[in-house]
């Protein structure tokens, strides 16, 4: 981080390469809006650059970035709700690895699971993304969401049960796709 503060271009590039996609992924899961998610990630990095000179060595960059992105995403969602504007750019993350024709069935399954995740309340989606997809510990995820570990566990349990319920009907089909 000290190198970033001194304007080391290589350090900055490495940092962005490492954290940008997961950050956009989290914001996209939360806002379900591609352009908003990208704006949020960019803003998070701008704030990181500003903070770099006063960076506390004990702070973890990924956790800090996720927390900023989480807060910005909440702001974006609330702003959208206040304005009563439905997102015209609802997007899910495109899986670029499954575009081959032979993988169509798997792509269908992926889309079903994506749709099931999207149907969850925002906080449950966020909790699942942080713990399952970002491999964060329960304490880190709770810290990012500014909630207790108990509250996080409640969100996770409800979220996973909700997903299981939504996907139950397609269980056989879905399980076949995993093989």
């Amino acid at each position: 981080m000290a190198q970033v503060a001194q304007g080391d271009a290589v350090a900055c590039r490495l940092l962005v390469q490492r954290h940008l996609s997961p950050l956009v992924g989290l914001a996209l899961r939360m806002t379900r809006n591609n352009s908003e998610a990208e704006d949020i990630a960019q803003e998070a990095f701008v704030r990181l650059w500003k903070q770099s000179k006063n960076w506390q060595p004990k702070a973890k960059i990924s956790t800090w970035l996720y927390r900023v992105a989480h807060n910005l995403s909440i702001d974006a969602i609330r702003r959208r709700e206040r304005q009563g504007v439905a997102s015209s750019d609802m997007t899910e993350i495109e899986d670029t690895t499954t575009n081959q024709s032979g993988m169509r069935h798997k792509q269908d399954v992926t889309n079903q699971v994506q749709a099931a995740i999207s149907s969850l309340p925002e906080r449950q989606r966020t909790a699942i993304t942080l713990v399952h997809h970002r491999d964060l510990s329960n304490k880190e995820a709770a810290n990012i969401m500014d909630i207790s570990v108990d509250a996080l566990e409640s969100l996770l349990a409800r979220g996973r049960r909700g997903l299981r319920k939504v996907l139950e009907d397609q269980r056989e089909d879905l399980l076949g796709a995993q093989l």
């Binding site: 080391d8 390469q17 591609n34 960019q42 650059w49 349990a157 796709a177």
Partner: protein, 155 residues
């Protein structure tokens, strides 16, 4: 060595809750519960079945990509990154020389030359003034002022 006897109700509820929260992946489990959960998995088939059931959802979640393509954002973000310290605005941006030693040595040489000149030039001027005075004195002493000395009108 697995045990076919069912889990006691308390352990089962606790394990089920943790698997509901964190899924079947060991690295997602809370640190404080991991050893206990692993120990249950080792000794109980029922615990293994609960884990297997939880892993179905994990596998489905793994199918969904969570990191979009963001290469197009890289340049825009890097453009806002901190500039190197020597490229920041400062008085040195206007300094036309690479190093300070070259102009500094030229200034020192000029200063030393000035000091040398300053300390030696008063003797020249003093000597020059003395010579001129002596010549004037000699010239006056050789001229007669008795007849044609123009004194001008007194009144």
């Amino acid at each position: 060595m697995t045990d076919q006897t069912p889990l006691n109700q308390q352990d089962k509820e606790q394990l089920q809750f943790l698997l509901d929260c964190y899924g079947a992946y060991e690295h997602h489990w809370p640190e404080e519960n991991r050893a206990w959960m692993l120990q249950l998995m080792e000794v109980s088939t029922e615990a293994q079945q609960l884990r297997e059931h939880a892993s179905e959802l994990d596998n489905l979640l793994d199918l969904t990509p969570s990191e979009p393509d963001t290469n197009h954002l890289m340049d825009a973000i890097l453009a806002t990154s901190p500039v190197p310290i020597n490229k920041e605005f400062s008085i040195w941006n206007f300094w036309p020389y690479e190093s300070i030693w070259r102009p500094l040595s030229a200034l020192t040489t000029a200063g030393a030359f000035g000091l040398m000149l300053g300390t030696s030039s008063p003797n020249w001027i003093y000597n020059q003034d003395n010579i001129e005075l002596q010549e004037a004195y000699v010239a006056f002493s050789e001229v007669s002022f008795s007849s044609d000395f123009l004194e001008g009108e007194i009144n």
